[in-house]
Structure formats: structure tokens, C-alpha cells
Point group: C2
Chain length 140, copies 2
DNA sequence: TATTGAATGATAACAATTATCGTTTGATAT
DNA sequence: ATATCAAACGATAATTGTTATCATTCAATA
């Protein structure tokens, strides 16, 4: 299990051409174990339990590295800080305009995305990121 | 014209229960005259031409006030700072994943938004904010 | 195993935003 | 019109999130 995970991470790094370090490995595993849209500070707090000496700068640098190399996806905030998307399935977000809570909703559950890949101005579509703004059950 | 604008602003303030000050009036007019997704700093720079002594804090405070009272809409970034939505028509955004340019696209031009108003979990939909992620014509 | 460029940790710097607080102003009652 | 008083303002300190710097350490390869 531990070994398998390590191998997986090594392969992942090889694919993306990034060096394998202890910090990166732990960071990756910790992030895999988180759900929702963790902030760098939240990730830092968790990683610190395993590597107490790790620097916040290292966390930021590697989150960026992971995002740039496509290992994780950065989500389009609404929070006041960078957030990483941990849900790897195609989905969108429901944002409560009152309490600001953000909940995932599956692409099928939403069922609205057009498949057009070319838009006016010659814009080439990669994907749609839909934020549904409204009121969550609690706030209604 | 000037008087009409002033009256409009007075009415707007009355509707939203906010006090009329010279700073707010100028701020509102300046913002009305801007297009796209201006940042607080950009708004500040423009307002300063009319009220050189205005404080950046006042600009921030009133942008928040306008947004909270529904006079203007805050857009869901991708920029690194708060942006205000100046396009009052129903539209969405195309975000270039390469150069980060953000362009408006009319809701009809996109033509994908479902009219469902209730989602799983009892979420009550107010509106959809769609970011189309892809490559602009220049970056392809 | 030695080499060497990349990664790390500590921390300073920075940018955006918010809080504080003394002064000024607009709205209301006189 | 004027006095009153809470609200708004301006100046600026403080805070937050993030990035840059740089000396030290480490991973990849030869």
C-alpha cells in the first residue's frame, strides 16, 4: 500500500518531469486524503504533522507546481485565497450567497452544459466551470 | 443630464437605504462610466481625478457597500483581486487559460443555461455564473 | 561516490485589503 | 436656518495571503 502509493507518485513525477522529494511525496499524499477545496494554510497544517520542519513556502511552491503540471486543479475561488480542487470527477459548484458555503454538484446532476467547443471570437473551449449562485437549504 | 444623474443616484440610495455623500456620488458615476471588470485600484485612480483627496479606504468601503446593497455585482475573479462587474446584461465569462484574459459572452450567445431553480440538497438557484475555460484566438 | 543544479527552510518583502481613530459631514429634529 | 449626532471620511497602521531571496541541503546523473 505504502509502496504502491510511493510507486504511483514516482510514476506521476516521471510523467510530469518533476523531481521526487520527500516533501512532495508527503504533500501529495496528504492532499489526496483531503476533500473539498483546501487552502494552502489547511494543507500546510496537515503536512506539518508529518514533517514538522516543512516551510509554508514549500507548500505554496509545490501546490503551484502540482497545479501547473496538471496533477491537481485550481478552482475559481469565491474564497479569499487560492483553493485546490480535490474532487477529480467532472462537477461544478453551488455557492450560497448568504453563508458562502461551496458545495460540489456533479455535471450530470446539473445537466446543462452544452457541448459547443468554439465560441464567438474564435475562443476554443476546454471546459466549463459553472458556479450556481443561490441559497443553500439552511439559509433559505 | 447632470441633475438627472444626481436624482437617479439619490433615488438609488433611497431605495437601498444608504446615505448620499459627494464621494459616493462621484464614485458611482465614475464606475458607471467604466467597462469590463475594474479593480478597486483602477476605480481609485479615476475617482482621484475628480476628488484628489479621496482615500483608497473610502473607495474600498463604498465598493463593498454598492456590492452588498446590490447596486453593482462582484464577479468571481480569476484576477488576483476583487473585481466589479460593469456589464449589466446577463452574460458569462470566457477565461483564457494561457494569457488569463477575460472576455464577456452574452447568455444567448452561450445558449446553455438550464432554467432549473431547485437543485439536489434543496439549493435554491438565483443565477448561474459560467466561466468558459479555454484558449482565446490569440493564444491558440 | 562525487558533482551539480534543483529543492528546501527561514524569513524578508510585497500586494491587497481591512481596521482604527480623530475629524468632518449629511440627515433629522428643532 | 441651526444644532445634534450617528455615519462617513481620510490618513495610516495592521493584517492577510502570497512571493522573493538566499544560504543550506538533497536528489539525480555521471
Amino acid at each position: 500500500m505504502q509502496v504502491a502509493a510511493a510507486n504511483t507518485f514516482r510514476e506521476l513525477c516521471a510523467e510530469h518531469g518533476i523531481a521526487v522529494t520527500h516533501q512532495r511525496q508527503v504533500l501529495y499524499e496528504v492532499m489526496q486524503g483531503m476533500s473539498g477545496h483546501p487552502s494552502p494554510e489547511e494543507v500546510y497544517a496537515r503536512v506539518k504533522k508529518k514533517i514538522p520542519a516543512i516551510s509554508l513556502a514549500t507548500v505554496y511552491k509545490n501546490i503551484h507546481l502540482f497545479v501547473e503540471s496538471g496533477v491537481f486543479r485550481k478552482m475559481s475561488m469565491h474564497h479569499g485565497s487560492v483553493r485546490v480542487e480535490m474532487n477529480s470527477e467532472a462537477h461544478h459548484h453551488m455557492v450560497c450567497s448568504n453563508c458562502k458555503a461551496i458545495t460540489d454538484i456533479g455535471e450530470q446532476e446539473l445537466g446543462l452544459v452544452s457541448k459547443r467547443t468554439r465560441l464567438p471570437g474564435g475562443f476554443l473551449v476546454e471546459r466549463y466551470a459553472v458556479d450556481v449562485i443561490g441559497l443553500c437549504a439552511k439559509c433559505q
